[in-house]
């Protein structure tokens, strides 16, 4: 085999790779997204992707969107905002996708939303809830989640009704947890409760023992964490090790996931948290989605999966109303949309911020996650106070 032959055959192989994928999918509607499949947000990112994937499968089985098959292009942003931004740039300019779904987590969404704004490309954002994202005058990011600032309101009101006063507030130093924290501060002030301890921690923090020793010295009534899964689990473990006892433990994200119970076992009992969604909510298609998801992936969907699934339906409704995937028409349709799907109501204000969806509080009871607030959606009665470590 001479060198020339080798070169030309190599070249033809390369060319085939470049030409053929484009040719075979010319008629598909391509939806692009990047979610964390590695790093801190991997677990939740993967759930979101699987939920969205289920919508893709369903719509293709139903005959497609506007009569065309939907194809999903997705990448792993490694839980890093800078990687997320690069990937959205790539999705828009390189992959030339028709529609966009947002990444998981508020801080990656912060970065990605700047990229889509630059290209004036509407993005349905499933995994973000920090209101900071919608305070920059952008017109292309459409949120599904209830805002982070509202996460702890019901739990704080409940604490107030039990006569609790002193709060310890700890949170990660990124967009979403800071959003939760600022909501807690506002609400606590309204209710006349005091934040006697406040501390931010880094994204990679795994050791909270020094923090817990300080909280213990302050003799607080409730601990509220603006957290994700790994940090809320670590905090509870170390709270037990250091025998920190308060009346209410409440964390963002972590307790809303099945892993929280798996990793902590009995120590999860009584911990409160939030959820954007549960398969038990009375919403059209929620129960069916829960069953189908469980059959396919082997576990109950958390709200991240529900969000991914709901994002598909929001996108579908908007594209149908717009009658095409034209960016300007889809954007206008998203602004005008007021719909209820399996994930809940979708209605945004003039900035794209979600204003139609309520917040739900959950609690781990008997090894299961139950909705406890608002009472009309509750699946169990709230347990109070948190049982002392010594008496479990």
């Amino acid at each position: 085999m001479n060198r020339r032959y080798l070169l030309s055959s190599l070249l033809s192989v390369v060319l085939a790779f470049i030409v053929f994928p484009a040719a075979t999918h010319a008629k598909d509607i391509v939806v692009g997204t990047s979610v964390a499949l590695t790093g801190k947000y991997a677990r939740t990112g993967q759930e979101q992707l699987q939920g969205f994937q289920m919508w893709v499968d369903e719509i293709n089985a139903r005959g497609g969107l506007l009569g065309q098959q939907v194809k999903l292009v997705h990448y792993d942003d490694e839980s890093k905002p800078e990687t997320g931004a690069k990937l959205y740039e790539k999705l828009i300019t390189d992959d030339k996708v028709d529609l966009l779904i947002g990444p998981y987590s508020s801080d990656v969404t912060m970065a990605a939303s700047t990229v889509v704004e630059k290209h004036n490309f509407p993005m349905v954002s499933s995994g973000a809830s920090a209101s900071e994202i919608w305070e920059r005058g952008y017109k292309n990011t459409f949120g599904l989640y209830t805002l982070a600032e509202l996460y702890m309101d019901q739990i704080l009101e409940f604490g107030k009704s039990k006569g609790l006063k002193k709060i310890a507030l700890v949170y990660e130093n990124t967009a979403f947890p800071r959003g939760v924290a600022s909501g807690v501060k506002t609400k606590a002030k309204q209710l006349g409760m005091q934040i006697v301890f406040e501390e931010e921690y880094g994204k990679a923090s795994t050791d909270f023992s020094s923090m817990i020793i300080k909280i213990k010295a302050k003799k607080v009534d409730m601990v509220i964490g603006g957290s994700y899964l790994p940090d809320s689990t670590a905090f509870m473990r170390q709270a037990k090790e250091n025998r920190l006892y308060v009346k209410i433990f409440a964390f963002a994200v972590g307790p809303g996931l099945p892993d929280f119970g798996q990793n902590l076992g009995l120590d999860a009992e009584g911990v409160m948290g939030n959820t954007q969604w549960e398969p038990t909510l009375k919403l059209p298609g929620a129960k069916e989605f829960g069953e189908k998801y469980k059959a396919k992936y082997g576990h109950e969907p958390g709200y991240h999966a529900g969000g991914g699934y709901g994002a598909g339906y929001v996108l579908e409704a908007a594209v149908k109303n717009a009658g095409s995937t034209d960016r300007d028409k889809v954007r206008a349709a998203l602004f005008a949309l007021d719909t209820v799907n399996a994930f809940g109501r979708f209605k945004v204000d003039a900035t794209g911020k979600q204003i139609g969806k309520p917040a739900y509080a959950v609690q781990w009871l008997g090894g299961e996650r139950h909705v406890v607030f608002p009472t009309d959606a509750a699946t169990a009665k709230v347990a109070y106070p948190f049982k002392d470590w010594g008496k479990r």
Partner: protein
């Protein structure tokens, strides 16, 4: 200010010492390898995670308690380290520093990705040895106390081995001057393989201990390896005892900074310590390269 009360100070000190012992076990292994063959093992933290995931598998599949799994994982990692040295690292010893850095970095990338394939990117933890016990007024975390005690035992054990035994003396001889050691009839190649095996075993043990304290995923190594670098530079490059003191120092300082400032500062303190030590005593607390 309630923070200055003696019982809080003591509680912070206990936490810091326990964390420091685990750091010390990990960093001593890294320094041992550097001392003997002037190779910085970038895959050291991944070897630790091999130990952690090993304990996880043994616990979830066979229900084996992490403390018992030490008896399996430590010898296995010794063997793995021994052969890793003979197959790969041996080829880069004595070459320019960059060669060995690249080789061990490659090992670390391979291990991380094998970990991602086998275990995905989920955080794992082992729900064994939970809770705490009380010493008077102080609650001492059960997993940390166990990890601290075992780490201390292993580190001191390896130190005594190096100081007292004939083989340990041979290791120190190779570290001081490989050529002279070879002339004296020491099988330098074999010593290096033994050393790397020991370092891998120490990393594996640290991994098992880590698995009962923290949650971990295949990419967790980076946080630890960075701290380890800081520790060995603070303690003295290649100096076994230096890494021990450096580890304990970092654990205690982190706990106090976390207590008095915030945990965000605690994460930066390793590097602040590093810069301070480099300015005042560039060879580290115990001086460089003496095993």
């Amino acid at each position: 200010m309630e923070l200055l009360e003696p019982d809080i100070l003591l509680q912070l000190l206990i936490g810091g010492l326990l964390a420091g012992m685990l750091y010390a076990l990990l960093a001593c292994g890294l320094n041992l390898v550097f001392g003997v063959m002037r190779v910085i093992n970038l895959a050291h933290a991944e070897l630790m995670l091999v130990g952690a995931f090993g304990a996880y598998v043994l616990f979830t599949v066979f229900g084996l308690h992490p403390l018992l799994s030490l008896l399996i994982i430590v010898p296995l990692l010794f063997i793995a380290g021994y052969y890793l040295q003979s197959v790969l690292i041996e080829r880069v010893v004595g070459r320019p520093m960059l060669t060995s850095l690249l080789a061990t970095y490659g090992v670390s990338i391979i291990l991380i990705n094998v970990g991602l394939l086998l275990f995905s990117a989920d955080f794992k933890s082992i729900p064994a040895l939970q809770g705490s016990f009380l010493i008077g007024e102080f609650s001492v975390s059960m997993p940390r106390a166990t990890a601290g005690a075992i780490s201390l035992l292993l580190t001191v054990g390896v130190y005594l081995f190096l100081e007292r035994s004939r083989l340990g003396k041979a290791i120190r001889a190779v570290s001081e001057h490989a050529q002279v050691a070879a002339i004296c009839g020491i099988d330098v190649r074999k010593i290096r393989m033994l050393t790397f095996g020991m370092a891998a075993a120490m990393a594996g043990a640290a991994g098992v201990m880590l698995s009962v304290i923290y949650s971990f995923w295949p990419g967790s190594g980076v946080d630890f390896i960075q701290k380890c670098f800081a520790i060995i530079i603070i303690g003295g490059m290649g100096n076994f005892l230096g890494a021990f003191y450096g580890g304990i120092l970092l654990g205690v300082v982190e706990a106090f900074v976390g207590g008095f400032a915030s945990s965000q500062w605690a994460e930066a303190v390793a590097y602040l310590l590093l810069v301070t030590v480099l300015l005042i005593r560039p060879t580290g607390l115990k001086g460089a390269a003496r095993v």
